[in-house]
């Protein structure tokens, strides 16, 4: 496998922000997750839960609809109308048009804020959760037809208003509410009477979600539990069904703020920033990958850029960038030994963004002299001059007009080109020299895809540029001729990492479903190794991993080595060794080393995995062949979260 000097970096204080709200489109199987910092992430559940897009947030982003802050929005089932609940007690109706929303009218104004809204599936009525009560509006006339009073909590909380955090209006006119007194209540929406009260928690019930067929409701609480209620007939074979509390899931340590109930799974997110997909075992086949619990805690893209020649790291935060110089050690040691550090790692620059927009992408040139980042509105390029004790940063003031609405930024390996992916899957090429930058060309292809490019990968020799977009297309451009060289045959799963081999000129791509392809740019066909891999198939353990490979790099000393990593492992694929059989054991290096020599030889195969490093955000090979490993242990993230609600634990 080879031995490396490893820079184990743990000073990237990446902190994801809390999940606030989620929406699921069951036709496209895509989930939108809104975070507290205003970012929206799109996950494709059909493609192994891959995070396709991230729409960067913005400080203080808020919509006001002439009635103070909006507490809730809810669309009707046809998607033609949008209702917004405001602080001043109005429910405002908006018409959803092709490219915008237009204010239509107000429903009759109430005293007290509107906290939650739910449309009846027919669209004729709207239930609104307020303080101490639920109102039912007729959506045609705009008048409130019913007022359902919600009990306050007992004891000391008697004097506090109860907040109806969430309501759900079912097709049979049942209204289900979750409130701050910890109750889930079931109401008859026709008569406005309370049918049942389930006391679920001592704290708040924050969110409710209903399954498509309305046979199951889940409620998320401040304790981090999710409680399921099912519409079950009390005796077998009879029709009188009632809502019965059934299962309890506990996958969160903090408030569950957002819930989605799909046909086969419960998707939850909250203050602890993780997205949890909990399959309902009665709805999925058991013992498949589908039935496994999945926690998504880290982004599926790189937030770290590494200047391979200069030994610098650029960390991307939502509102600032940090540039670090790696530490140095002149000692050598045995494997596993930690070396003393001569020079400590040092934070050179912290660059705050101008304006309120958050950073959507950033890049650092391999030589370490250029730095660039983009927000939704603008692109900024800086020139860095770093000597041993003198650091200067200079903004390049005049940038070409073509650099706008950039999704991804990348420098060529000789640092004299900047590539920026722009709208319609085009790539803008900008030439850099000492003083200024000049627009060269826009690389386009003819597939007509409107999806943004999320991967840019130039080759080492500067001849090729590979791009991948979320339509699962991979295009390779010839940079000498500035035109499309070829397109890799489309594969159904989105590429998560693409890279071009420096010597053989093969393009290696890894996809969200964990498949690996190698495509020869010269022959414009899949390489022999790739075909063999497809024939034999990948090892089941490889396919069962639940985080995507986020970067591919190559070892200049050994051209047969491909280095990949995901969040939980680092892997070197040795193309010269035989591929593992599906039935054999898939040892990692630690176990393999403990085996006796003859067995070790017998068991060795092309996939050499190393699990010494966990929660990997980035792995880079520097020019001096030392490895930079950026880790962000989950415990550190958890430690930075606010304290959860206090719970009595048994035997404490």
């Amino acid at each position: 496998m080879g031995e490396f000097k490893v820079h184990r970096v743990r000073f990237f204080d990446y902190m994801p922000s809390a999940i606030r709200s989620m929406a699921f489109n069951s036709h496209t199987e895509r989930l939108a997750v809104a975070r507290a910092d205003g970012a929206v992430e799109i996950f494709n559940f059909a493609d192994n839960y891959f995070q396709e897009k991230v729409i960067a947030g913005r400080d203080g982003r808020s919509i006001e609809a002439y009635g103070g802050p909006i507490w809730t929005i809810s669309g009707n089932s046809e998607g033609t109308l949008l209702a917004a609940g405001c602080e001043d007690g109005t429910v405002k109706m908006f018409e959803v048009l092709e490219d915008r929303i237009q204010f239509q009218r107000n429903l009759s104004r109430q005293k007290g804020r509107i906290i939650s809204l739910s449309w009846h599936p027919s669209g004729a009525q709207i239930a609104a959760g307020m303080m101490d009560m639920i109102r039912i509006f007729d959506s045609e006339t705009g008048h409130a037809t019913h007022r359902l009073l919600v009990d306050r909590g007992v004891g000391a909380s008697k004097s506090r208003e109860v907040v109806v955090w969430s309501v759900a209006f079912l097709n049979d006119h049942t209204i289900i509410s979750g409130d701050s007194a910890g109750k889930v209540q079931i109401w008859d929406g026709l008569t406005g009477t309370l049918i049942r009260t389930h006391l679920v928690t001592k704290w708040d019930v924050l969110v409710l979600a209903v399954s498509q067929d309305e046979s199951s409701v889940i409620a998320g609480t401040s304790e981090g539990t999710i409680v399921q209620f099912q519409f079950i007939s009390s005796t077998v074979g009879q029709q009188d069904k009632l809502w019965v509390r059934t299962r309890t899931f506990k996958n969160h340590s903090h408030d569950v703020r957002a819930l989605v109930h799909t046909d086969s799974a419960v998707i939850s997110g909250g203050m602890d920033t993780q997205l949890v997909v909990r399959p309902l075992l009665d709805k999925v086949e058991k013992n498949t990958q589908e039935s496994a619990l999945r926690k998504i805690a880290f982004p599926h893209r790189n937030l770290v850029s590494c200047a391979k020649k200069a030994g610098l790291l650029l960390f991307q935060f939502p509102d600032h960038l940090e540039l670090w110089r790696l530490g140095e050690s002149d000692r050598n040691g045995t494997p596993g030994e930690s070396l003393p550090v001569n020079r400590k790692p040092e934070k050179l620059i912290q660059l705050k963004t101008k304006g309120e927009d958050h950073i959507c992408c950033s890049a650092l040139s391999p030589c370490g002299s250029w730095l660039s980042y983009a927000t939704v509105a603008a692109v900024r390029l800086y020139r860095l001059q770093i000597s041993s004790n003198n650091i200067s940063i200079q903004k390049v003031s005049k940038l070409p007009r073509e650099l706008k609405s950039v999704h991804q930024l990348c420098f060529s390996s000789d640092s004299c080109r900047l590539f920026a992916s722009s709208s319609f899957s085009s790539v803008v090429v900008v030439a850099l020299n000492q003083t200024d930058c000049k627009y060269l060309h826009t690389l386009k292809h003819k597939s007509g895809s409107r999806q943004p490019i999320h991967i840019l990968s130039p080759s080492e020799d500067g001849q090729w540029l590979a791009t991948a977009n979320t339509d699962c297309e991979i295009h390779v451009f010839n940079l000498r001729k500035m035109k499309l060289h070829c397109s890799v045959p489309a594969y159904s799963s989105c590429p998560t990492a693409v890279s071009i081999h420096p010597t053989t000129g093969n393009l290696v791509s890894v996809h969200a479903d964990q498949q690996i392809f190698e495509f020869s740019l010269k022959q414009k066909e899949y390489s022999e190794w790739s075909r063999q891999l497809q024939r034999q198939g990948l090892h089941p353990l490889w396919l069962q991993r639940d985080t995507p490979v986020t970067s591919i790099s190559f070892n200049p000393n050994n051209p047969a080595h491909i280095m990949l990593h995901d969040v939980f492992m680092f892997c070197i694929i040795d193309q010269s060794l035989p591929l593992p059989e599906a039935k054999t054991k898939f040892y990692n290096q630690m176990i393999l080393r403990s085996l006796p020599q003859p067995q070790r030889l017998r068991e060795s195969h092309a996939f050499k995995t190393c699990k010494n490093f966990q929660h990997l955000l980035s792995v880079n090979l520097l020019e001096d062949l030392s490895l930079v490993v950026v880790e962000r242990p989950l415990v550190d993230i958890v430690a930075q979260l606010p304290a959860p609600v206090r719970q009595k634990k048994f035997a404490t």
């Binding site: 389930h198 399921q228 099912q230 079950i232 009390s234 005796t235 077998v236 074979g237 299962r247 309890t248």
Partner: protein, 831 residues
Amino acid sequence: MVEQAEIRVVHQGGSNITFREPAISSDSRFLLCASGHSVKVFSTVTEECVQELRGHTDLVTGVLIRPSNHLQAYSCSADGTVRLWDFTDGILIKTYLIGYPICSIYASASHDGVVFIATPTKGHKTLDSLQLLAVHLPQTAGQLVETSDLSAVLSDVSANPATVAFGRAGEYVASTNGVQLQIFFFKKQKSFRFSLKENSCSGRSNTFTCVACHPTDDCVATGHEDGKIRLWRNFDQKREYTYRTLHWHHGAVRALRFTPEGSNLLSGGVESVLVQWQYQQESQQDFLPRLGAAITHIAVSPDGALFCTSHSDNKITVIQSCVKVSSIIQGLVKGEAVQTDLMVDPRSKALVLNGKPGHLQFYSLHRDRLLFNLDVVQQEFIHQEGLDQFQVVMATLDGAGAWLATVEERKQETVEAELNLKLWAFDEPSQSFILNTTVSTPHEARITAVTFDPAARGQTSLLVSCGQDGLFKAWRLAAPGHPDDGGPSWSCDFVSAYHGLAPQRCCFSADGSLLAVSFQEVVTVWSPASWELLLTLSQPPGNIRDLCFGRLSCSKFLLGTTNCNQLCCWNLLTCSLEWSTSMEVSLLLADPLSDNMAAFCHQDGNTDLFVFKPSEPRPLFSQKAVCSGRVSRAVFAPREVALESCEESSRWLNRSQLYFLTPLMDLLTFSTRAEEERLMAASKQLVVDDSVAMTPFQLLLGKRPPHHQAVGPPAKLPAPPGGSAAVRELLQSPAHVLPAAAALCSAFMEALLGVATETREKKTSAGETPSDTEEEEEEDSDEEMETRATRSEEAPLETDSAGPVLSRAQVRELRRVRKLDHSWFSSLLDS
């Protein structure tokens, strides 16, 4: 072989009443418990045992109120029979022969004439895999009924009877085994299986321990090893089943039961807390804590007002409406092991042994109930695993029951064992033992034996203790140095050792003139009066295990057993070995009331019993395979009434009874055939209730209609008196055509009174001698009052045959007495 059949090993007294779930009668007045080979009927109010249903010849494994008749009960036993009882009167109604050993019995109201039994699967000897059979009980007459209509319902049933439950109106049966729940629907003949993972996320076992079904909803509650309760619903679907998890217990859930209306779920476990969950509102629980010991079964009365919890310490607690413990039925407390010897308290004739932790229990075998617990350790017992606490390891009573010596010990891994020797004096006013002297660390190492000097009755003043520190000490009751110090107390009088060997056993001769102490291979005999070493006996190889002086005619013999399978008998007069034999004797003990000795021999995994006289070469009695395993505790308990058996082999049981504890902590005893016949006769007498001997008292009672007929079957109801047309009209015409009751009342009353007036008229008109008329009158009224028709036929017969022959004067006197109105007396008896 005739002798072998003469004496049988039986459960008699002190048997486990919490072996199976108790059954509560429908009026909540009686509690039926399986207890050894019989079923005991306790009153829930007075805690007394009101009936004992005897008849089974093996362990009773289940009791159940018959669903179709709440005055009858089924019981099943390992002897392969199901018996139907009238439990109020203790009458065996029917015996159904099944032919296989039965582990448990179930019934449901909707399956009429069917009971469900769990029996071992054919071919499987072990009790791991049982099958549930439906047995159609044939409706034939006769006491003994063969059943042939067996059909298998479920296989793979667990041996724990709590793992089978019948659901709503008997539609389905739920059974769990291991980590699998199986539900079988009778109508569809379809079963569903649901399994859990072996271990939960926290690494604790998910194994099912018990199951209960909701009476009206389709909801099955299961208890688990890790303390969770799951409420299963939608279990008629292969995949869309669902369950809710409740978690309060930290140990395994041992019992679950829904209340009859289904409004509450009761659960219990090691915590000894009864938890009541509100159905559909499970976040609200009520607790009844501090029930004393782990809950093993819960039973609920049909009206839901009374709960019974069985506990692991052989106790049944009766709880009223989940708030108040109303009574406690305590059996012989059985712990993991009995560390003290079995003893008999000479005053109360009670069996004395370890009871609750740190206590000695006094259990009356004759009355089969616990008399009291003596708190020896006097420290709080903490229910927690792995905690070393003081335990009573040894106790001994003196001959008169005036003094009790106890040794308590706390073993710790790091430090040496902590020891206390306590001496208790019997206090007459309080009728209990009062702590007199506490000696902390009486020996440096563990105490191996303690014994009182039996010498002068009631005036015991000598106690000998042996320790592993190589010393034996004599303790003497001495008056205090200062008169202010209170009463006399015990102090060490004499310490001795023998060649640094550790003493193992010590034993006084019956008259207290000799003390034998065994030091490994050597037996030393001392004179307690002068503390002089009289002689040493030795029979190598092997250390002495038990030591016993002969009694009465054999008091010149000293018997000892060694751990090299030797039973030796020394003659103390000649100081030589009289005889020895090679057998592995695990326990040797002497009958205090005779010169017999009993030796329990452990051989091939079984224990054999030999009863012998030291002076005679042939054993009086021997029985092979008394029980499996090694018997290490036994006692001769004196009988209250001596038997008069003339059979040679059973004569040794005439004056005292031999009780022993099996390794499984069952208290067994030997009973003779005569004794059993007497017991059976006593229970049969109840069947023929009418056969009361013809005595004057009986005649008094006979004057009013026997009230027991009123509760009999309706066919025997007395016909309306006098055949009066008015009465007949009233009773036979339909209610809706009758005039108002007020209008009828006077006519009806008159019709009733008419009989009496008629007789009175007859009496006056006849004008004969009073005595004769009376006789006639008596006969007349007998004819008219058909209520007594049957009796009047029988009664003269009895007077002729069985009744005492009376002189004429006596007869006249008797008649005079009969004429007197004794209704006040009968009304007294009634009330």
